[in-house]
């Protein structure tokens, strides 16, 4: 197994793995966006900044408090999620009665402010974050070496996506969420505190972005732009998968990561644009997205 379609096998599998890892981040981030959009009808443009904040909180916990990766994985999503709760309560919730566009503009602005503040404080060159010792090293899979941390990221992202899906589709809370996505006024008239649910949903979506940020810290360098670079692609993923579709955003996230990886092997020149080409085609053929309800 040295060559596949004339491509050296290690190169092919290496890019596939890279694609899978990028896909894991696309899936986690677009999942949070989909949950937030479904419930709040707000396209959360702060999502990239919140992903970046997750990585920075992990870095700060390590360097200022001496709390390592595992603590960061647990605490950074909570810290950033609480920040999200505050943001929803004080600002986003004031805009629900207006056009979606206002929520988009607000969250876009807040994202830029956060990014600017972090750049001011830490510079834009990027800070190192080490892979935790338990997850360093590589497995020899026979046909390639698989860095342990990368395998871990893919598995954890999959588990987080499946867990989120199960909560939404199989629990009482999830049924409230699905119902409130369809008809929030009626759900509230049944005695459910819908405004509080919206706050918590936003907090959970933001926490998921921060969780992805902590996972990303040892792979990408921790820098203020790490979110905005990624989020453009994630928005394309959300459009392709179908706005608000949970399963759609997860499958599309992983799928497009792989498509991107394969493009790097077979036609590297197009690798940066392939996702946007797919987006254009999907928009032309299925405007509601692959998994969206028209």
């Amino acid at each position: 197994m040295d060559e596949i379609f004339g491509i050296p096998a290690p190169l092919l599998f290496g890019q596939l793995l890279l694609g899978l890892i990028n896909g894991a981040f696309y899936a986690l981030l677009s999942l949070g966006l989909a949950v937030i959009f479904g419930m709040l009808n707000v396209i959360n443009f702060t999502h990239g900044a919140q992903f970046m904040l997750g990585a920075f909180v992990a870095w700060a916990m390590l360097n200022f408090l001496g709390l390592g990766y595992w603590w960061a994985l647990l605490l950074a999503p909570i810290v950033v999620g609480l920040f999200g709760v505050l943001l929803e309560r004080t600002m986003i919730s004031k805009l629900y009665k207006l056009d979606h566009l206002y929520g988009l503009l607000l969250t876009f602005g807040v994202g830029l402010i956060i990014e600017g503040l972090v750049r001011n404080e830490f510079g834009s060159s990027g800070l190192p974050y080490r892979i935790p010792p338990e997850l360093s090293g590589a497995w020899d899979l026979g046909f390639m070496f698989m860095p342990v941390y990368r395998g871990w990221v893919v598995i954890v992202a999959l588990v987080a996506c499946i867990a989120t899906w199960l909560v939404i589709e199989r629990t009482r809370i999830g049924s409230y969420l699905r119902a409130a996505t369809e008809n929030p006024a009626l759900v509230q008239a049944f005695g459910i505190n819908v405004p509080r649910m919206m706050t918590l949903t936003y907090g959970a979506g933001v926490a998921l972005a921060a969780f992805a940020g902590v996972l990303a810290a040892p792979i990408y360098s921790v820098n203020p732009q790490m979110g905005s670079n990624l989020i453009i692609i994630v928005f394309a993923v959300v459009v392709i998968g179908g706005m608000g579709s949970i399963l759609g955003s997860v499958l599309t996230g992983f799928g497009l990561g792989i498509v991107e990886g394969l493009t790097k092997v077979f036609y590297p020149e197009a690798s940066a644009t392939v996702i946007f080409v797919v987006m254009a085609i999907v928009l032309l053929l299925r405007p509601a997205g692959l998994f969206g309800r028209a």
């Binding site: 699905r178 369809e182 009626l186 509230q188 049944f190 005695g191």
Partner: protein, 234 residues
């Protein structure tokens, strides 16, 4: 006579700039079945929605069991013990029948059990795992009524449960309402079909232009039809 369970005085409501209720007053005593009659646009649905806090701004007074509801959010009104079944039925497409049935949280002890609801509406049991909107119109209506019986709320607001249903289903809904009355529920029913209303209600309020124009007991309804004709004619 005891204080009414629901005592509404001078209720006004708006949707944005449009003023839809102009001082509605009505009393409902515990155990009564009351209908709001009137033409399309008379303010019947708006009255139910205003009681639940689902309109825009409201003014006036809504005393439920002596407690003022006018400033409360819809979820707190529901938690006080009022349950609402909307005209469009509000069955959730992304929830199956069981999930729809279990959606409204219990607000008080003493609601019907799921088994009792299935006894009232045997069709629902067979469709337990179907998506809510795959049901027939009649089944959806039964589900919409069934799910608010679980909550323990004793005052039910039903918006046109007979609308668009086959006569045999309308009769079944009528039997259900009488059964609910015998179990001690209090019902405020919006109806356009006064023949149906006659078979279930104790008393009728006749509405027009966002106001109550007349109130008649069920016994008087037949003899008052001439007088009420201008409000009810379709």
């Amino acid at each position: 006579m005891a204080e009414p369970m629901l005592k509404i005085r001078g209720l006004e409501a708006w949707y944005g700039e449009s003023h839809v209720l102009h001082g509605v007053s009505l009393d409902i005593h515990e155990g009564e079945v009351i209908t709001l009659l009137g033409r399309n646009g008379a303010g019947k649905t708006s009255t139910l929605r205003a009681i639940m806090g689902l309109t825009g701004r409201r003014a006036g007074s809504i005393l439920f069991e002596g407690k003022e509801m006018i400033g409360l959010r819809p979820d707190l009104i529901a938690r006080s013990g009022i349950a609402y079944c909307p005209e469009e039925r509000g069955i959730f497409a992304s929830l199956d029948v069981t999930e729809n049935l279990l959606l409204p949280p219990a607000v008080r002890p003493g609601g019907l059990s799921v088994d009792e609801i299935y006894t009232l509406f045997p069709n629902l049991k067979e469709r337990a795992l179907s998506p809510g909107t795959k049901l027939s119109g009649g089944e959806q209506q039964m589900l919409a009524i069934g799910r608010i019986l679980r909550t323990g709320a004793k005052l039910l607001l039903l918006d046109e449960p007979s609308e668009g249903l086959a006569p045999v289903i309308v009769q079944q809904i009528g039997r259900t309402i009488r059964e609910l009355k015998s179990r001690g529920f209090t019902v405020l029913l919006v109806e356009q079909n006064f023949r149906f209303a006659q078979t279930v209600a104790d008393r009728h309020y006749v509405m027009e232009h966002g106001e109550v124009k007349a109130t008649v007991t069920n016994a008087e309804l037949a003899t008052s039809l001439d007088r009420l004709h201008e409000y009810l004619a379709v």
